[in-house]
């Protein structure tokens, strides 16, 4: 069984730099003020490498990948 992951963001650390939306526009878009809106649900497998890149490249390390199991509630 392959592991599924979802992106989580620390909302206080995030300060709207927007690299995440540039790297993974399929799952992240910016609101009117430049802060990320993350699509709910686990990340499709083919996008996982980009999701890992997003986590590494965030200048303030606000993003993380969390393993999804049936008990996890998704958030944006």
């Amino acid at each position: 069984m392959t592991k599924r992951f979802e992106l989580r963001v620390d909302r206080i650390r995030c300060d709207g730099r927007g690299l995440c939306a540039e790297i993974l526009p399929e799952r992240i878009r910016l609101d009117d003020w430049g802060y990320p809106i993350i699509a709910e649900g686990p990340i499709p497998d083919h996008l996982l490498p980009l999701a890992q890149r997003v986590v590494e490249d965030c200048p303030v390390l606000a993003l993380g990948l969390r393993r999804v199991d049936s008990r996890t509630r998704s958030s944006r």
């Binding site: 909302r11 206080i12 995030c14 609101d31 009117d32 809106i37 958030s75 944006r76």
Partner: protein, 391 residues
């Protein structure tokens, strides 16, 4: 009404009940142990600070982490502007609260009890200090009083812990949460004063009081705190508060993080945390506001949105900018009249902001607004240009 009410005993106007009277009326504080936690879980008591989290569960999670190091934070900050119940309890029944706190300290093996009281709530602070002086030396040794800044967000649990630890009352998102590592890195229980007062009764009688404290506000003849039987209707609570001098158009249940209901439906709602949850509503901090028909709903909502936007701790973009934009759009509608673009923006921003803050401040504000847009749909879509704000 039976003696197990929180506000039973001497007339509230006579001030704080001293320890002698308290013990005479209710008996000595019982010993506490793990059995108290089970008792609380069975009683179904939920928190009375706003989130209505089951008390037994909360205590269990702290107990699991505590090895004699736990900290109890008695949350009397009462940041909600219209709420007065916590201050009333602190100024009239301080020993109920202290009993609850010391029972928690014993059950959770805590070495510290912190009374977190609003910095401007002088009477409450004085009353709690005096009551503390009447307790045993052993109990007094555990306690210190910390002043909560007079801002809305200061009552938030993680903000309280943050203030105690680092001197700034802003909410935090850094894991782990306070029940694992809170004050000084110890497992911490943050509990509202009314909840602790209920604990003091349940520990003695084995039964919940069957009552809740509410603050009646707005268009009622006698605004203020009432202790009502759980399950009476909002309409009955209004009658207990002297009735409404004029017909009401809507009720706000749960204060600024609550929901608006059109008066007809609102009047028959049960004042009961669990029953309200089944309706998708919340009793929250217990504020029930009645909006008279003569008031302008849009202007009232706008004033509250402006307040909530200003109370954002500005740590998260979606909350700070989003609530500000929502409040500005409401202000434009209030002052210049309805513009369909503003209505669309309100809907869009509300759904985008929700869930994207570090704490629940934006969620509370957005749900408040969304309930207003639904309840006052007509008023919002046809508002003329004026700005009438009540005091």
């Amino acid at each position: 009404m039976n003696e197990a009410r929180l506000l039973a005993g001497r007339d509230l106007a006579m001030g704080a009940e001293g320890i002698a009277e308290h013990v005479r009326r209710l008996g000595r504080m019982p010993a506490a142990g793990k059995s108290l936690i089970d008792l609380l879980a069975r009683s179904g008591l939920t928190g009375r600070g706003g989130a209505a989290y089951p008390v037994g569960l909360k205590w269990r999670s702290v107990a699991a982490e505590s090895h004699g190091s736990a900290v109890i934070v008695v949350n009397g900050a009462e940041g909600e502007p219209h709420s007065k119940k916590d201050r009333l309890l602190m100024t009239t029944r301080p020993h109920l609260i202290l009993d609850g706190a010391f029972l928690a300290a014993a059950a959770l093996r805590a070495r510290q009890v912190i009374l977190y009281i609003g910095e401007e709530h002088y009477a409450a602070r004085q009353s709690m200090s005096r009551a503390l002086a009447e307790r045993t030396a052993e109990e007094r040794r555990l306690v210190r009083i910390v002043a909560a800044p007079a801002r809305y967000v200061a009552g938030n649990s993680s903000a309280a812990v943050h203030l105690i630890n680092a001197g700034i009352a802003t909410p935090t998102t850094t894991p782990p949460s306070s029940h694992e590592r809170g004050v000084d890195g110890a497992p911490t229980l943050v509990q509202n004063v009314e909840t602790l007062a209920h604990v003091a009764i349940i520990a003695r009688t084995g039964q919940p009081t069957g009552t809740v404290l509410v603050t009646m506000a707005g268009g009622v003849n006698r605004p203020g705190v009432l202790e009502v039987k759980t399950g009476i209707t909002v309409g009955e609570a209004v009658e207990l508060a002297g009735g409404a001098p004029e017909a009401a158009q809507a009720v706000l249940v749960g204060g600024y993080f609550g929901q608006w209901i059109e008066a007809g439906q609102g009047w028959v709602l049960p004042v009961d945390p669990e029953a309200l949850r089944a309706h998708g509503l919340t009793l929250g901090c217990g504020v029930i506001g009645v909006l008279p028909a003569s008031r302008c709903a849009v202007c009232e909502v706008t004033g509250i949105m402006r307040y909530l936007a200003n109370e954002s701790s500005a740590q998260c973009g979606p909350c700070f900018f989003g609530l500000r934009a929502l409040a500005d759009a409401c202000t434009r509608i209030a002052q210049r009249g309805t513009d369909p673009n503003d209505l669309l923006r309100l809907q869009r921003w509300a759904s985008e902001v929700r869930g994207r803050g570090g704490c629940h401040h934006p969620d509370g504000a957005v749900m408040f607004l969304q309930s207003a847009l639904k309840t006052f749909a007509g008023e919002f879509s046809h508002h003329p240009a004026h700005m009438r704000r009540s005091a």
